[in-house]
């Protein structure tokens, strides 16, 4: 029995440490709180239980930095929903809500939000207009994009309310046989900014398209790091 339940292995010792940590943690709790704590812990998946135990270890570690112990406690409370003021709230914040709030307190960002919203609406209109002009059904588009018709339906329904990723814009443009800028006019600017940032990596090799984009944008400060020539083994 002992052999099967508690084999003398590092894993067993680690588990016993966890149990010991847990019992130690609960020792001073009020019975009601202990019940709530155990109930919450048992409802968690194995993965979250492991996370909870690892947070207990940090919170109890006297050598740990005070802010880390506080962070561990906050994380632990969050994992077990022990913050009653937040248990009814949704997790996270929608992008639109976040942007509205940020735009209120910063005029420059407000302008950018307006531009992005305008491009987003344009994108939604353009996709539908091109589909109509080319007499493409959702099924046709699904075949071209290698996905299902319901996926396209869902995408089209939500287009006016979402910001697509660049790769989705490119994939849609390819499927609709139009340049990506026809769907999202500011795409070139975004890609150029991304490319400029990538050049700052030491080992980054520029693609032909990026070189052309940079050349067109008039940026001259980019320095390309030369690559060493391959060496031939000595005979």
């Amino acid at each position: 029995m002992t052999d099967t339940m508690l084999p003398d292995t590092p894993q067993t010792m680690a588990r016993l440490d966890s149990v010991s940590c847990l019992l130690d943690w609960m020792r001073d709790m009020e019975p009601a709180l202990r019940r709530q704590f155990v109930g919450a812990l048992m409802e968690c998946s194995d993965s979250i239980q492991q996370a909870v135990v690892s947070m207990m270890v940090i919170a109890k570690d006297q050598q740990a930095a005070p802010q880390d112990r506080q962070r561990a406690l906050t994380t632990l409370a969050d994992a077990l929903f022990l913050r009653p003021d937040e248990t009814d709230k949704d997790y996270g914040q929608p992008l639109a809500e976040s942007e509205t709030y940020t735009a209120k307190i910063n005029p420059a960002l407000n302008r950018e939000v307006r531009t992005m919203n305008s491009q987003q609406e344009f994108f939604a209109r353009q996709v539908r207009a091109i589909m109509d002009s080319k007499r493409l059904s959702q099924q046709d588009l699904a075949v071209r994009m290698g996905c299902t018709q319901p996926a396209i339906s869902q995408l089209l329904d939500r287009l006016p309310h979402c910001r697509p990723q660049k790769r989705t814009i490119h994939k849609l443009a390819e499927a609709l046989a139009v340049p990506p800028q026809e769907l999202w006019p500011d795409l070139e600017t975004a890609e150029m900014l991304d490319a400029v940032a990538r050049f700052q990596q030491d080992d980054y090799a520029m693609t032909v398209a990026e070189a052309a984009a940079l050349s067109a944008s008039g940026k001259s400060k980019v320095k390309l790091k030369p690559k060493p020539l391959p060496t031939r083994p000595r005979r």
Binding site: S45, T75, Y91
Partner: protein
Amino acid sequence: MLKLQWWETSDTSLADVTCRRVADEAFYVLDIDDGYGIADGFQVVFCEVKRPEPDGTICVLAVLRSDEVLTESVRSILRARERIARERVSVVLDDLFGR
């Protein structure tokens, strides 16, 4: 932060803001320095929960001071938060666009 919509896991920047993956971890750090219209001197640690468009989700795990080092304790806390975030957001859907 408005440029988060352009971010892809293979990118090293969110437009003009440097972004890097933490070695051996599944989370990323966005360095907020000056000139971005918000308070600077911070690093935002985040992970991405992959979901099909239009529901790609980025979870902010922590906002730390720029000079804070990601010690093993901090990494452990971030890993725990990542697990929690992923589990809460993780309605595993089919990858509609084959990514």
